[in-house]
Symmetry: D2
Subunit: 102 residues, 4 copies
């Protein structure tokens, strides 16, 4: 089952500068070859269910190893069986509607 | 890795009455023997990472089988390595603070 | 517009013990007379849009005053115009389905 | 209080093609002059608390007017008092770490 995910990991107990932890998650996604896109409040990921969920678990394991005693993660996760849709398709379908009306 | 999760599955393309789908997810969690607690905007689940994530995937598969062409799910997911904490512990630690001040 | 909300506030930069902050948010909701219900990964709130959103803002202001330099909050928010539905209605509609099949 | 928000509105009871509704929300944000950025699973918004929350309420009102009987919205919302940070700052702080290590 292919899914599109919005993944936002927050380490707790490590102060307020979270970018080193977010950067490490990006490296994990990159290393695993998963299609992903960082935005200002999370990272979108596209892939097979097991691959994406395994990657998110690896992020939790690694961020704990980096010293975070506690992590809270928010995930939005979409699956559909009526059509194949990529992350770009989702953005493009909205933007084409906006552009057609200008 | 033990996790506590807030799981909220929304089937799309099936109208506005979602309770039959939510009830089916409860049956899946019950059948798998996972500790879970329904609330007004989701279901809290406590268990090992693989067991919880496998259960959530089974819910997606089953809800698609029931006719939902598209699903969007929101997950909050907490892990910690500094202490063992249950769903009840989380609620109790807040409520004991509230009661001690009355 | 009446809404049902799941509200989860996470203070950052204050260590890993979050219950004093969550308890303070409960006191704010209680003081404002909003219908609310704590669960293991957030608090459900039911009320008019402005009242609920004003309460959530007061929580942010107060938690910053308590010393949290940074806050990340997750909100699920439902509105409907086809019927009036309370938090209890949502849970009951699922549970009655589960009970009718036993 | 300035906030950065990830906003994801899902209309229910209108089938599975959601882009017309998402596009309408983009128009509302644009019309209100709010800084915003569409991504594959939501829209990031940056602004003052009241302005952002008012915009999100207008989106709910408008999407109901367009015929959606029910809406479920997910919001991630960050505030901080230790420093001023924009949406670009958040992305740049992660990307500069990634680039410095290559």
């Amino acid at each position: 089952m292919k899914i599109i995910v919005d993944f936002c990991l927050i380490p707790l107990g490590v102060g307020t500068s979270l970018s080193p932890y977010i950067a490490e998650c990006q490296r994990i996604l990159e290393h695993l070859g998963l299609k992903h896109e960082l935005h200002a409040y999370g990272t979108n990921i596209e892939g097979e269910w097991e691959a994406v969920m395994d990657a998110i678990k690896r992020c939790h394991v690694r961020i704990h190893e980096m010293g975070a005693p506690r992590i809270t993660t928010t995930i939005k996760l979409g699956s559909r069986v009526d059509q194949d849709q990529s992350m770009e398709d989702k953005v493009n379908s909205v933007e084409s509607l906006l552009n057609s009306q200008q």
